[in-house]
């Protein structure tokens, strides 16, 4: 027993080192798997306050870019209003009428970016709205120019968003040209470029084609811009295109984002899961 105590006291530095190292690694891996389990991140009240203060000092420097983005968005929205009004006129011809709950299922919440990274392998964005404003994990986030990501965890007034620049996040996408479905994922290297996969090589894809969100996801409304095709190649297996997509969102100057609250998300999800269960049986 005495020897044991002596051993521990002689090796105390190493033992302490081993314990703290294991603890850190445990934090690291459990945070990646259970984001809400650990409190140590930017949803922490004090960390958020500190970031807000430092942000309020730096935010003036990119007001010019924010203004430009908002102006672009305004013009896009005006266009959209005009288009919808036009559609309204000849609507009587078509028998189809969207259920009012489905038509208005998306609600947008504006949030301000408090903190973001673009250069790590897994990038997150901290925004200044939380569960008090009706936000919940899983909701989609877009900017005035395109897709941004999806909420990972929320506290009352702060949320963390998994940016599309994250190694484990992919978005269901389609090419506007021919409605070809694929998925978009970041390869971890260049923060302006993402990869689009699962598009058959026999379909036509050209540089500058627009890539938008597909109709097949709960998170984003369809037809939100993701980016523009930059380079087209063929994958090593010869069946799919290898497409490089230039992101529409400029993450470097991101200041305001919209969180999309899909009111029917749970309804759709449970219904689809139920259907899948039946099929298996």
């Amino acid at each position: 027993m005495y020897q044991l105590i002596q051993f521990i006291s002689r090796q105390r530095a190493f033992i302490l080192f081993a314990i703290l190292e294991v603890l850190s690694l445990w934090f690291f891996y459990s945070y990646n798997n259970y984001p809400n389990a650990i409190f140590f991140n930017t949803t922490n009240y004090y960390a958020a306050k500190a970031l807000e203060t430092s942000n309020s000092i730096t935010e003036y420097s990119n007001l010019r870019n924010v203004n430009k983005d908002l102006a672009t968005e305004n013009s896009r929205l005006n266009e959209l209003v005009a288009k919808l009004q036009a559609q309204q006129l000849d609507k009587s011809i078509v028998n189809y009428k969207a259920d009012s709950a489905v038509a208005s299922r998306f609600k947008f919440v504006v949030a301000k970016v408090q903190n973001l990274t673009t250069t790590q392998f897994n990038n997150y964005i901290t925004i200044d709205k939380g569960s008090a404003d009706g936000l919940a994990p899983g909701m989609g986030v877009i900017s005035s120019t395109g897709v941004v990501g999806k909420i990972k965890s929320c506290s009352a007034h702060i949320s963390i968003v998994i940016s599309i620049l994250h190694s484990e996040y992919s978005v269901s996408a389609k090419l506007k040209r021919n409605n070809e479905i694929g998925s978009v994922k970041w390869d971890g290297v260049n923060p302006d470029i993402v990869e689009m996969t699962e598009v058959s090589r026999y379909k036509l894809v050209k540089p500058k084609d627009t890539v938008v969100t597909s109709d097949f996801n709960y998170v984003f409304p369809p037809n939100i811009t993701i980016g523009y095709v930059k380079k087209v190649g063929v994958k090593a297996d010869q069946t799919f295109h290898d497409i490089e997509v230039q992101l529409a969102t400029n993450f470097h100057t991101l200041a305001y984002v919209y969180v999309i609250n899909n009111k029917l998300m749970n309804e759709q999800k449970t219904l689809e899961e139920k259907t899948n269960d039946v099929k298996v049986k």
Partner: protein, 168 residues
Amino acid sequence: MTQKNILSQVLVFGFYLLLQIFFVRQLVLFDYAFCFAYIASVTLLPFETNRVTLILLGFFAGLTVDVFYNTIGANAAAMTLIAFLRPSVISLLTPQRGYDERQTLSLSSMGLPWFVTYTAVLTVIHHFVLFLLEASDWGLFLPVLLKVICSTVFTTVVIVIIQFFRRD
């Protein structure tokens, strides 16, 4: 160590952490070179600091920075490791005539070659652990290596520059 010395050490430690969180965090060159100057908060503690204190402070500093990077655990793991290795690195780099008793761990006292080597060795270990953990994928080994090399140069230069503003 006198009480005044301890107080000034605590202030310096806090200074490096605040510097990292509010200023240096935004510094990224060419998307590859990152600055983690806060590792100086542990690597530049006085020679006589014992290993247990080093490890505890390293863990604490890493965890604090992790909170702001949303990489909980990665910086802590890297900092704990370099805090543990620090005494070995110091004895490995012993000059031919041994360390003088009056020497302090600073640029002016140790000279540029020793200081840069020492900082670069610990920095490269820290960055390697940090970026590899973050990538969690051997397929990204080359970008990781590139990031480690660029960031080590960047961090070392920044730590040396800070030394020039130091008053002993």
